[in-house]
Structure formats: structure tokens, C-alpha cells
């Protein structure tokens, strides 16, 4: 009887340690930065020659995905209404890498022709102080046109924003 009790206690301790670990990990996670609204600047591509349609698709998809992720106020580049917003976070994106790929090669060979795009995302406050910087990439490996890489990037960038920033009504 004592052996069963001992085993029970050990098992409970074991379970307690393992279940507590994720809780501790969550406590160590940095607190989200408060952002009343986000402003998305047009994608810059000074070093890398990027086709105009990719630049526009990156920008439009990014805005759409941020809105989908619960950011209720997403302002576009140049929007005058953003000027009066307190706790405004501005997202600057610069293309760091681009491989055009080929839809035809993807469909014919499956393994080659991937399109990839790497964008450096910098979140700053309205006064220009950097809050977060991260490289985000977008890829299309198998199915879909080349512009699908911009959708992939936008989803990942919106996820980064979601993980690091909190807006009123969405914690």
C-alpha cells in the first residue's frame, strides 16, 4: 500500500513539474507592446529590383492580413488621420532578397522554380524609435502563381505583429 502511495506522489510531482513548465515559459515571454493603431508604409526596394506588381501585392496583402489579425485601425502610407493617433506603431518594410522563380517550372518539375522574397520589417513608434526588427520571408514552392509569395509573407508578418503588439480590444 505504501509503495502505491509513494508511486502516486512521485507521479503527481512529475506531472506538476511538466505542467508548470509551459506556465513558466509564458511568464518569461516579453510583454506585448501597446499599439493603438498601425500604419503601414509602402514597401521599399532600393537595393533589390522588384517588379511593381510584387511591391504593390506585398503592401496590399500586408494591410489585409493585419486587419484580419484583429488590428482594428490599420492606416495606409500617407493617411493624414494617423497623425493624431497616440501610441501609433509604424511598420517600415524593406526588401532584402527576391528570387522570381517560375510557375511553369514548379508545375512541370515540382521541385524547382520556387519563388521567395525576404523583407526586413521594422516597427517604430511615431517619433522613429525602433520597437522591433525582424526579417520575414514569403515563399511559394508548389502550387500557385509567383505573387502567392507576397500572401505568404503578409501572413507571417501579421503573425509577428500579432505576437508582439496589443491593441485595445484585442489582447
Amino acid at each position: 500500500m505504501k509503495r502505491i502511495l509513494d508511486a502516486g506522489i512521485k507521479l503527481s510531482l512529475f506531472m506538476l513539474i511538466f505542467s508548470a513548465s509551459p506556465l513558466r515559459a509564458q511568464k518569461n515571454k516579453p510583454a506585448k507592446i501597446k499599439a493603438a493603431a498601425l500604419q503601414v508604409e509602402m514597401i521599399q526596394s532600393d537595393e533589390i529590383k522588384l517588379p511593381a506588381e510584387f511591391q504593390v501585392a506585398l503592401y496590399e496583402n500586408l494591410i489585409r492580413q493585419l486587419e484580419k489579425n484583429g488590428f482594428s485601425h490599420v492606416y495606409r502610407d500617407g493617411d493624414r488621420n494617423a497623425a493624431s493617433v497616440a501610441d501609433l506603431v509604424v511598420l517600415h518594410s524593406t526588401v532584402r532578397g527576391f528570387k522570381a522563380g517560375s510557375e511553369r517550372a514548379r508545375q512541370v518539375t515540382t521541385v524547382s522554380g520556387a519563388t521567395s522574397i525576404t523583407v526586413h520589417c521594422q516597427f517604430t513608434s511615431s517619433d522613429g524609435t525602433s520597437l522591433l526588427e525582424q526579417d520575414v520571408n514569403g515563399k511559394v514552392r508548389f502550387f500557385g502563381g509567383n505573387l502567392k509569395a507576397t500572401y505568404d509573407f503578409a501572413k507571417k508578418a501579421a503573425h509577428v505583429a500579432n505576437e508582439n503588439f496589443s491593441t485595445p480590444g484585442r489582447e
Binding site: M42, P51, A52, E53, F54, Q55, V56, A57, Y59, E60, N61, Y75, R76, D77, G78, D79, R80, N81, A100, G101, S102, E103, R104, Q107, V108, G145, N146, L147
Partner: protein, 175 residues
């Protein structure tokens, strides 16, 4: 004239017509053009089919019963490009991928050239928008010229679609 001579003459005539007619067609798209709006126009779904035209200083996109207008003066940049898309696309194209012995993959080799038109414009609040259209070869350049003539700005004034100017230029893949 012998029968052989006449055949050669007709052949040369057809060859000449083949070279001239596509160029002529490319320059004739002055009315509304059938396009696909890939993304970006406010209030219009992605991949919406419709017609695009320039009239009274406005870029009109008519899709179904609805229509969207963008003022030419609000356009900051208009850029054309050349591209290609699968000749057999849509549902048939997807289903064909499952065809045995790589039959669907062979179909992927057949692609048709298209033009792209990318427009960046500002709304009433100054917010920047971007819209992408695909259209038949040779038509994007005409729309761009009409937009520029009616007040739109462009960062590439000399830019024109390679497909409209040359048959030998390499085309990009479909976006």
C-alpha cells in the same frame, strides 16, 4: 505567273500579315479592355473580371453591375509589365494535374502572354492604395498612355510592355 510563283507570293503575303496584324491589334485598344483585377481596388474582390477604360480623367473598372473609379490625377505611379499565364487554367487546369503519365504537367508548358498594369493612387485622406490588373497583350501600354495624358504620374515614362514591342523578349511567369 506559275502556280509555284503564286504560292510563294501568297506565303510571303501571309507572313507579312502575320507580323503586322498583332502589332496593329496591340495599338487599337482605345475602348474598354477586358481585364482581371488581381488585387487592390477598394470594394472589389480579388481576381474580379471586368472591363477597364479611361474616360473624363477617370480610370473606370466595371465588373458586373458595379463600377469603381480612380481619378487619374490621384494616380502617383502607373507601370506596365509583361507576363504569362497557363493557357488551360481554372478548374480544368487543376483537375488536369491529376492526369496520368504527367499529362497535366505537359499542359502547364502551354502558356499565353499577358500584360500587367500596376497603379498606385491616393485616396481622399492621402492613404496610398495599389491595384494590379492583367489584360491582353498590347493593351496595358495604351491604357497607361491614356492615363498619363489625363494627369496620372509615372516613374517610368519610357517604359512599355516588352510583349507589345518585341516578340523575342523573354516573358515573366504569371504573378
Amino acid at each position: 505567273m506559275t502556280f509555284r510563283g503564286a504560292t510563294v507570293l501568297v506565303g510571303v503575303g501571309l507572313l507579312f500579315a502575320g507580323l503586322v496584324i498583332p502589332v496593329a491589334n496591340a495599338q487599337q485598344a482605345s475602348g474598354p479592355v477586358k481585364v482581371v483585377q488581381l488585387t487592390g481596388l477598394a470594394g472589389v474582390k480579388d481576381n474580379a473580371k471586368g472591363t477597364l477604360g479611361v474616360e473624363n480623367g477617370q480610370l473606370h473598372f466595371v465588373h458586373g453591375k458595379a463600377s469603381s473609379e480612380v481619378s487619374a490625377a490621384s494616380i502617383q505611379d502607373v507601370v506596365t509589365g509583361a507576363d504569362s499565364q497557363r493557357t488551360v487554367g481554372g478548374t480544368i487546369g487543376v483537375v488536369s494535374m491529376a492526369a496520368p503519365y504527367g499529362g497535366g504537367r505537359v499542359l502547364s508548358l502551354f502558356r499565353s502572354k499577358i500584360d500587367t498594369l500596376t497603379v498606385q493612387y491616393r485616396d481622399a485622406d492621402g492613404g496610398l492604395h495599389g491595384a494590379i490588373f492583367t489584360m491582353p497583350v498590347g493593351t496595358a501600354d495604351v491604357i497607361k498612355k491614356e492615363l498619363v495624358a489625363q494627369g496620372a504620374h509615372t516613374t517610368a515614362p519610357g517604359d512599355s510592355t516588352p510583349a507589345a514591342n518585341s516578340n523575342t523578349s523573354p516573358s515573366k511567369e504569371k504573378p
